[in-house]
Each structure stands twice: as C-alpha cells, then as structure tokens.
C-alpha cells in the first residue's frame, strides 16, 4: 500500500506550498486516476508520491509517505526505486542516453538493481511483450517517434517490477491504439498487485481503467471517489477537466429524457 498522510509540499526557494494536506491511499492492485487543471499540482503530487520530492528534488515536506508500511523518508533513492517508480510525460528525458538499443534501454533498470543476467533478460522481455515492442528492440532509442519513445519509457519502468507505479501523463504523445495498449498493460500490471496512480488529461483512458478518481485543484484534493461518480460530478467541468465521452453522452441523453440504461452496454462499447 502507498499512503500519503497530511502531506504538504513546498519547492525549494518558493515561499508558498504547492500541495496542501493531501491524504491519499493506494491499495495493492488499485488504479487511481489523477485529474485537475494545469498547475493544479498533479506533477508535484507524482513527485511526492514517488518519494523523489523532497529526496532528490529538494524542498520541504510536511506529513508522511509510507510504502507498504515503511516510511519513505528513511529510504535511499535506489531503495525507493525498488518499491515505487515514476514516469514523466516527456519521453526524451526518460531515455538514459547510454543504451544502443531499445532492449538495452529497457534492461537498464533491472541491470541497475544488480539482478542476474537471466532475470534482467526475463523482466525486459516481459515488459517488451506487455507493450508489444518486439519490432523495436534493435532500434536506437534516439531514433524513435514520440509515441514509441513513450512506450519504451513505460516499458522501462515496468521492467523494474515495482510495487507502486506513478505515471504523469503517460499517453501524452500516443495515438489511440498506443493509448489502448498502455491501458491494457497497466490493467494487467494491476492484476499482479501493483498499485497505480495515473495523472492524465485523457479521461476516456481513466474511465475504462481506474476504480477511483482523485481531482485536485490549487494543490488540494477537491473530489475523491469511484470513477463513475466523479466523472458524473458537475464540479469537474468547473475545474476545466473534460469528462469522458461516456459521461458526456449519458448526460446529453439524460437532458433529452433518454435513460442511458435503455442502450444496454452499447454506450460503453461505443465510447471504449
């Protein structure tokens, strides 16, 4: 379980806090979506939930982050990496810059963990299969499209086999097929007991993937609840978050007096 209790965070050199009194709990195998307007604090929350802030980023933190019962404050960065990983939205900064092939790039994390070669290769192959990257394994990581690089970045994190995964806009550069692929990979990862926190503007992805949605604004959690309820909450529109197509269509039908239930599963099928 990943748990943030009473967390407030301020970047070094800034007078005001960016996050205020955040309480957030991710159970094992749970997928939680994180939404909110720009500068709401989503990326900062990702950094704090991964333990990188303040450990690597600096700044000051009030409250606690615990990972499976262990306070993160006492862990070195490489010990954090064995428990929780975070992926950023810019795939160019995810690249190590030292790997000659995509295979080596994905294998870098397990290799850094000091695993035996056979274990590193097995984890790397599994991550490659999850994201269907077999056709790219011999490619130079610097010669990938934005979407391919993003998939490789995610595969690099999955190969670490962490207990908790934090992703900051993981599909920002992906086409619909790539987005679906990532969704399937994350769902199957959660099936192994890994908890996931996904900050994402593509609410359609979160709608089909998450059991819970957390909306933040001004560094505070303003809505936290089951996915269906949160995406039907009218306050979301006020936050500048576009509700998923399913929720918008259901709302449009309701205004015309059509009960979405009469469509059976067709609504979900059409918007999936």
């Amino acid at each position: 379980m990943l748990e943030l209790t009473g967390v407030s965070y301020r970047y070094a050199g800034y007078a005001t806090e960016v996050l205020h009194d955040i309480d957030l709990r991710l159970a094992d195998g749970e997928i939680v979506g994180l939404v909110g307007p720009n500068e709401a604090g989503k990326s900062t929350l990702c950094l704090v939930a991964s333990g990188l802030a303040p450990a690597s980023v600096g700044g000051s933190l009030r409250g606690t982050l615990t990972l499976d019962g262990t306070p993160a404050a006492g862990l070195a960065t490489h010990e954090l990496a064995e428990r929780v990983v975070v992926g950023f939205q810019n795939p160019n900064t995810q690249r190590s810059g030292i790997a000659a092939t995509v295979f080596e790039e994905i294998a870098l994390g397990p290799m850094n963990l000091g695993l035996a070669v056979a274990e590193t290769v097995e984890r790397t192959r599994e991550a490659i299969e999850r994201l269907k990257l077999e056709h790219l394994i011999l490619r130079d990581p610097q010669r990938l499209s934005g979407g391919q690089a993003q998939l490789v970045g995610i595969a690099s994190l999955l190969a670490m086999r962490p207990r908790h995964v934090i992703l900051d806009e993981p599909t920002a550069q992906l086409d619909p097929a790539g987005t679906r692929l990532v969704g399937e990979a994350l769902r199957s990862l959660a099936g192994t007991g890994t908890s996931l926190l996904i900050a994402e503007h593509k609410t359609d992805l979160l709608d089909g993937l998450c059991s819970r949605i957390v909306a933040i604004d001004g560094g505070r959690i303003v809505i936290d609840g089951p996915t269906g309820e949160v995406f039907d909450d009218p306050r979301l529109t006020g936050l500048g978050v576009e509700r998923p197509a399913r929720a918008r269509l259901a709302a449009a039908l309701a205004t015309r007096g059509v009960e979405p239930g009469v469509l059976g599963g067709a609504l979900e099928d059409a918007t999936r």
């Binding site: 960065t77 490489h78 975070v86 160019n92 900064t93 190590s96 810059g97 030292i98 690099s156």
Partner: protein, 238 residues
Amino acid sequence: MATVESLGAFVIGGYLGPIAIIGLAILPAAASARVAGRLVRISLLLTLPIAISVVLVSVFTRAGVHVLFSIGPFDATAEGVDFAGQTLVRLFAISTSIGLFGLTTEPRSFVLDLERRGLSPRFAFIALATLEAVPAMVERASVIASAQRARGLDTEGSVRARLRGVLPLVGPVILSSLTEVEERSLALEVRAFGRPGRRHLLWRIPDSGTQLIVRAVLLLALVAAIAGRITGTFPSLP
C-alpha cells in the same frame, strides 16, 4: 595494443623501432581490419600540424656542428634534421596506433568492457553520456534551426549570413539541454542508477585466448624494452 605500440615507439627510439612497429604491427592489423587507407590519411592529417612545428623547432634550434644552411640568425643543422626525423616517425607511429584503436573500437563497447573489468558504473555512464551528448545536441540544434527558419531566420547564403544565423541558436540549444538535465537525472534515479555495487552487464566482448596471449607478450616486450632503456642494455637502433 595501441598503448604498447605508442609507448614502444617512444621507448625504442631511432628510426628503425617506430618504422618496424608501423610496418610489422600497425599496418598489417589495419589492413586486416580494412581500414589501412583511412588510417594513413587520418594519421597524416593529425600529425601534420605537430610535424610542421617539430621540423621548424628541431631543424633550426637543435645544437649541432654540421650546418646545412642558414636563414637569418638560424642555422639548420644535420643533427636537427636527424632529431626531427626521429621525432616524426615516433609521432606517426603513435598517431597510427591511436588511430587504429579509434577506427576499430566501438566507443560504447569499449566503455562497457571497461566497466566489466572494474570501472565504476557511474564513470562509465559519464563517458557514454558524453559520447551521446554530441549527436543529441546536433539533432536538437537542427530542430531549433528549423523552428527559427520557419520564423524567418536566415541561415543560408554567405559564411557571414550563416554565422549570423547560428548565433541565435546557441542560447536555445544550451538552455533546452540544461532544463532537461534535472528530469533526466530523476528518471535515472527512478531506474536505480544510484544503487551502489556492481551490475551484471548483458553481454561481453569476445576475447579469445590468443588475444590474451598476444596482449601479454606485447606487455612483456614493452616492460623489457623500458627496463633495457633504464639499465642501458637496450641496443641503440639506427
């Protein structure tokens, strides 16, 4: 091999030693790697600037009794010509041996093999990242140049116009590289880069028993040559 050949050319001295190293070790190896032509061209180009200064300084300032000709207050002596000639063959032997290493060794493989032999993974990363930084910055500069051209910056035409066009690119290229540094270092930490201890690399460079023996023999020969030079038992070669 490059180290032994370079040091060997320096230690053995004379004309014969360096020429033998070039003719019997470096060129046959370069020919078998099919880089002999490129090696000679690159080595000549690399040696040329130093060679010119060596010739000028040695021929005209080396003390000697056999004056060949004079230019103003400077006497060109036979001793100076002889010293310049010996220095040049040494230089050429050193540059060809280093050039052969550069032409036949993939830098990434070399650094990773050094890591396998005990080099710190952190140092290996710095070396590899440095190697990768140049093409990455060239690519970034090309993207920024395209963006600037789309906004009317003239980067074509005369040398002066091109220089004027390059200057506005320098700032964005450097700044954008620096702004990515923090996120890149975080991404590496997420992948346990800071973990102490050794890591098991995925592959190794093939290294046969014969290669090992050749390296050992070369090293022993070098040590013997140095010892011979120090003790004065090494024959003075022409």
